[in-house]
């Protein structure tokens, strides 16, 4: 894959143009990214978080460097905590272990099904007789439990290890099962669904799970830095403000379903 060296070269070139004087190279934007978790990121730079990192680094006029670590248990401790990198590109704004920037988009868990099924809510009576695939411990998992709908629910692991060759344990498995007819409905995190439908050119109804229950379904997404790193937070927020349109374009490219902020009109 030649895309990444090209982008890296571009980043360096930009740094030369916009960075500080020669002989005093700007320290890079050190991003903590998952090495193999599309549509978010991968080591080839193919994810939308890779793209957003590039947009931000370019705006700040610094080169971009990565520390690759799977976004699993111990993520913050092994990345920001050990000073291997400085920024997590996409984390929920309320994620406790980090200092979050202002949110730069909001997305949601979505109900994915064939359009003719017309499922628009978790209270649709049809869900009682349909096969539903959901990631374990996610808000829709809990919401289905509250509705007593677990009899038809299959749980899929959300945590996975990128070195595991067992593809059935990857988060996309639930969407593959929907595509292949093994599931009627998948209720998953919006960016996964939007990208899967777009990549496979599938005609699927992707409907936000309505908020309002005990557990939130939509989340604001921010960048995360160390709690002590208020200066970097401010720099990132500057870039987010200046590059809003660029970031929106990247999200649209990947089919990320962006929803309005809570309380705002849809």
């Amino acid at each position: 894959m030649h895309a990444r060296p090209l982008r890296a070269a571009l980043a360096v070139a930009c740094a030369l143009v916009a960075g500080p004087a020669p002989g005093d190279p700007a320290p890079p934007l050190r991003v903590c990214a998952d090495p193999d978790n599309l549509p978010f990121s991968n080591q080839r730079g193919e994810g939308f978080e890779n793209r957003i990192a590039e947009v931000v680094a370019k705006d700040l006029g610094v080169p971009l460097s990565y520390f690759w670590w799977p976004h699993q248990r111990g993520l913050v401790r092994r990345t920001l905590g050990e000073d291997r990198c400085d920024v997590l590109v996409g984390i929920p704004r309320d994620f406790g272990p980090v200092l979050a920037t202002k949110a730069y988009y909001r997305t949601t868990y979505v109900i994915v099904s064939r359009p003719e099924l017309g499922i628009r809510s978790l209270d649709d009576p049809a869900l009682k007789r349909l096969r539903i695939g959901v990631h374990l411990d996610t808000p829709p998992w809990a919401a289905l439990g509250e509705r007593g709908l677990m009899a038809n629910v299959r749980g899929y692991p959300l945590m996975f290890d990128w070195r595991d060759s067992d593809g059935t344990r990857r988060p996309a498995k639930v969407l593959e099962d929907l595509r292949d007819g093994a599931m009627d409905v998948a209720i998953v995190w919006g960016p996964m669904a939007g990208w899967f439908a777009k990549k496979n050119a599938l005609r699927l109804a992707i409907v936000p799970v309505p908020d309002g229950g005990r557990t939130p379904m939509s989340f604001e997404i921010s960048m995360g830095v160390r709690k002590s790193d208020a200066a970097l937070k401010a720099r990132l927020e500057g870039a987010i403000d200046r590059q809003g349109a660029e970031i929106e374009k990247v999200l649209a490219d990947y089919g990320v379903p962006v929803v309005a902020a809570k309380g705002a009109p849809p």
């Binding site: 998952d34 799977p70 976004h71 248990r73 401790r77 990631h135 411990d137 677990m150």
Partner: protein, 603 residues
């Protein structure tokens, strides 16, 4: 200096069909000069008839020698002494050493480092601990954090076979000691947090072939329910409930891991083990009893078939993992002699059951408990306080005991002299708080915040003596930290235990009077043992090395700013001052009473 056991092991390896390994273990475990199985004997009493060290001379106990394991995470478990060799293990990366007790300073005979998959590290729940190794038939048998079961030649450390029992890529790890029964090494699995389905499996000690595997939930053939399962107590649950007590197919990720201590009654030919909390963590989507999570099982070790099963905590909502030890003793309860099984559960209740058929005889709280008002002896079910049942999205305050339990895995000891049980306990409560946004692999999800705090009285632990026939505490010694070490009792009327801040203590087993204490290199979460050296002198040995769930923040240098870190341990561990009381370590300490003669032997 080599004694008979080595010869017995040799014979057994020449004649693998002539005698079962447990005949050898039964014989060896009767010799209190040795410590050949993790809990001292199949009954798991952790009691020794050795009486050179007594209440009178224990004040002169001195460290004879010590040995650094080379690992610096929590050191649970205990070494073994077989013949004149001591077998020592460590926390991850699970080093194994054979030390020669016949030579001064106990030099290393051999050392073995298992090759491990480091994917196991991030999925290990509560520190990278290991609870010990087994000896049988001239072999050392143990498991690794990354899920391998390995047999080494005891004399040389040569690897004889290894097989995979658990898969860290699926969230499965191994931390238990397991148990050799007959020609099988019986082990389980950790990882109840990751949507696994727990099981126990038996491996042929000669070649590592899996002989049987019994799941904690699912169809009866998977759980291996015998035809007469629960015949004496049908109300405990019967055939079909391993799936029927779960919505839909939720049993497929039902948890029920099996990382605790196992016991065996050779006369009844029953293996006793229990299962942990049901998965996934949020109780709402798995509404129902979730059988057979949180269950004490009695199984035929030859086939794995379950003869009875008693579930302690139906539809768990507190993480009261049911995996603690089972001590098999003959007691007189309400005037009747009974073959008893005594189990101190995380849920705060001490259970005395008839181990022949599972009948519940006594169930009383051994710590302050408020999630249930008691256990109904007729139905076997807890009488819950509905206000203390946790729910996602709601704050449930002041639940006692906390998720770490009235006690965690730290095994108890039973002294036939006093007829009392001795155990370290926790005195902590918890708030199970609201909606907590977490994040993994690109997606936010929602978990609970668990905040732990001191229980009534403000101390975090207590070492207690317990009468299992009446369900009453005889005496207790309050400790500033949870008592996370096991207990040892001896015919010298002594009870030994260690504290999280590193004090190794000997108390009078009759009244709890402190007779001796020594501050060790690091906090103690290991289990003391005693044995006779080749010099016929009694020694007491224990690991130091702080860690475990409570000690993890110190063992792993976790940052202190997030009180909910390490599943709620960070806040209370730092608040208690543990990081100032001790530091990381991994050392075996061996003690003896200093005689008038010089301690240097002439060998």
């Amino acid at each position: 200096m080599r004694r008979a056991p080595a010869l017995a092991g040799l014979l057994a390896s020449i004649l693998p069909c002539a005698a079962h390994a447990n005949d050898e273990i039964l014989k060896l475990s009767k010799d209190d000069g040795q410590w050949v199985t993790p809990s001292k004997n199949y009954a798991s009493t952790r009691y020794s008839s050795l009486a050179q060290i007594t209440t009178r001379n224990v004040g002169k106990l001195k460290e004879a020698w010590s040995f650094a394991t080379g690992a610096l995470r929590g050191h649970e478990g205990q070494p073994l002494v077989v013949g004149t060799t001591m077998y020592v293990h460590s926390a991850y990366p699970n080093y194994i050493y054979a030390l020669d007790l016949t030579r001064e300073g106990a030099p290393i005979l051999w050392q073995y480092t298992p090759k491990q998959d480091d994917r196991a590290v991030p999925v290990a729940c509560c520190d990278l601990v290991h609870r010990g190794i087994n000896y049988a038939d001239g072999k050392i048998l143990f498991s690794t954090l990354d899920g391998q079961v390995i047999a080494l030649e005891a004399a040389t450390g040569k690897e004889l076979w290894k097989v995979r029992n658990a898969d860290p890529a699926k969230g499965e790890t191994m931390t238990m000691a397991g148990l050799v029964v007959k020609d099988k090494y019986i082990v389980g699995v950790s990882g109840g947090e990751f949507g696994i389905r727990g099981f126990v499996a038996a491996y042929d000690i000669h070649d590592g072939r899996q002989v049987w595997k019994a799941y904690s939930m699912g169809p009866d053939e998977d759980v291996k329910l015998a035809a007469d399962f629960n015949r004496a107590n049908p109300h405990y649950g019967q055939a079909g409930q391993g799936t029927q007590t779960w919505p839909g197919e939720q049993w497929k990720m039902g948890g029920g891991s099996t990382w605790g201590w196992y016991s065996y009654d050779p006369e009844l030919n029953l293996l006793y083990h229990s299962t942990g909390n049901p998965g996934t963590w949020n109780p709402t989507p798995r509404k129902g009893d979730d059988k057979w999570s949180m269950t004490i099982f009695a199984r035929d070790p030859d086939t794995g078939m379950a003869r009875w099963g008693y579930q302690m905590t139906p539809w768990d909502a507190w993480d009261y993992d049911g995996i603690n030890e089972h001590v098999l003793v003959d007691l007189t309860v309400k005037g009747k002699p009974v073959k008893a099984l005594v189990h101190f559960d995380r849920n705060g209740f001490a259970y005395t059951l008839d181990r022949t058929n599972g009948t519940l005889l006594v169930a009383e709280p051994f710590v302050y408990v408020n999630w249930a008002k008691g256990i109904d002896l007729k139905t076997g079910r807890p009488i819950e306080d509905p206000a203390k049942r946790t729910k996602e999205g709601e704050d449930t305050k002041d639940i006692c005991p906390c998720a770490m339990g009235g006690k965690d895995q730290q095994p108890s000891s039973f002294s036939p002299k006093t007829k009392l049980f001795y155990l370290g306990t926790n005195n902590m409560c918890m708030n199970y708080e609201g909606v907590d946004v977490k994040y993994t692999a690109g997606a936010p999800y929602v978990g609970a915040n668990v905040l732990m705090m001191p229980g009534r009285g403000g101390h975090l632990g207590e070492f207690i003596a317990w009468d299992a026939t009446t369900g009453k505490k005889a005496w207790g010694i309050k400790e500033p930290y949870p008592v996370w070490s096991g207990a040892l009792t001896t015919a010298g009327d002594l009870a030994f235990y260690g504290t999280m801040d590193g004090w190794f203590k000997a108390v009078d087993a009759r009244n709890g009077k402190l007779l001796w204490k020594r501050k060790l290199a690091s906090g103690i979460i290991g289990n003391p043992i005693t044995y006779l050296g080749p010099d016929k002198k009694q020694y007491v040995a224990v690991y130091s090395g702080v860690g475990g769930w409570f000690g993890l923040p110190v063992a792993a240098h976790l940052p202190g700013h997030d009180p909910y870190g390490a599943l709620g341990a960070v806040g209370i561990a730092y608040k208690s001052g543990l990081d100032k009381a001790t530091s990381v370590g991994g050392t075996l300490h061996v003690f003896a009473v200093e005689s008038d003669r010089t301690a240097v032997s002439s060998r």
